[in-house]
Symmetry: C2
Subunit: 198 residues, 2 copies
DNA sequence: TGCGAAGCGGAGGATGCCTCCGTATATGAA
DNA sequence: TTCATATACGGAGGCATCCTCCGCTTCGCA
């Protein structure tokens, strides 16, 4: 059942052909390896080679480096969401927000030198993205409603702060102790001042 | 007065030949333009072309992209130091630290997408680098001695926090209001809790 | 079994980084 | 001034990467 030659993928999800599905998986696995090993410097040609696939095939599946990265992280987003949901069940609202930030930071540092790109990937349109954001927003709201976290920030701010810690933690000159101190400073800044404080 | 063919520059500062000095200046000017225009994506070949100089000449003066960037920023470091010294004369220690952070952030965002590299350049060995760090450290100590800024952080931490704000402020999804909020949160986190606070 | 859509592969153009080395020039000494 | 030589210049070209294009192959439905 042919189709008019509209160049790229039609639009809606069309079931992939069996070989295409297989190659897609091979590419994602190879990409994960390569990104893990070389971070932002991973070569797309190399990824195609690792996957045992032509470079043209890689580009048929993923428009560019970013698209490939986003796809690679997609399933991790689900795990992220689940961790967030679990945190919603814990009693201490502030502790939960702190834990959530740590989880975000870990996600953002999945691959070296890609904090910016991974962060951009969090603002995508996939269902997983939405759910991650919803979950995080719920965690934040809970702590704000309890009057423990300042109310003049939103979840995007929280994300930006996580990006900040993640980025500096990945600088060559950084050390884990400093990263911990940074997070402490930020958390303290997020807390509502106790009554009587200046 | 010839010299044995020790490949690179001898070691100590040797006076440059007149043409070399001129070309060096041309390169720095061209580099500043190119970095301003294209940020991290500026091409070194293009910089040489703008300077009206062969690519070999560029590499004779600057070992690689980072060396060129550092040289480009060198004179700005002096300005940075001077601003810091001026702040040391202002009365409010905390305000001075806040202003210092803003100055640092501005410096780090001189060129787009180069926060990491510019930050690394702050840790160099030039006199200007040292003086910038000394000045910043003095500003921080003053506020800490006054009991207004937490004492468990050092100037490298302050720098890391500036890097954090600078980086997130340069993300495509960022907006100035968020950057301002981030800085507020961080400053609040840096303040010593007023007595009576939890 | 056959046909058309979907997918594959890789050659090759474009760009960027950097090295190498033959040539040109500035500079101090005579 | 002239000369010798260290210093500096220029750019061709090797290598890597990204990405496009298009002829060939394979899948899957009828």
């Amino acid at each position: 059942m042919p189709r008019s030659p509209g160049r790229p993928v039609p639009e809606a999800e069309r079931p992939l052909r069996a070989d295409a599905r297989r190659n897609r998986e091979l590419l994602l696995t190879a990409a994960h390896e390569a990104f893990t090993e070389h971070g932002a410097d991973a070569s797309l040609d190399d990824i195609a080679r690792r996957a045992g696939v032509g470079i043209g095939t890689l580009y048929r599946h993923f428009a560019d480096r970013d698209a490939l990265l986003v796809a690679t992280l997609e399933e991790r987003l689900v795990a992220l969401r689940d961790k967030g949901r679990a945190l919603l069940e814990t009693p201490d609202a502030v502790d939960a927000v702190v834990a959530w930030m740590k989880v975000l930071i870990k996600h953002l540092t999945t691959y070296r030198g890609m904090v910016g790109t991974i962060s951009a990937g969090l603002h995508g349109v996939s269902a997983a993205c939405e759910q991650v954001k919803e979950t995080g927003a719920a965690l934040l709201s809970r702590a704000q409603a309890a009057g423990e976290i300042r109310s003049d920030i939103d979840h995007d701010d929280l994300e930006a702060l996580a990006v900040a810690v993640a980025f500096t933690g990945q600088q060559p000159a950084s050390d884990p102790a400093r990263a911990r101190r940074m997070l402490t400073v930020i958390i303290d800044g997020l807390r509502v001042r106790a009554p009587g404080a200046k």
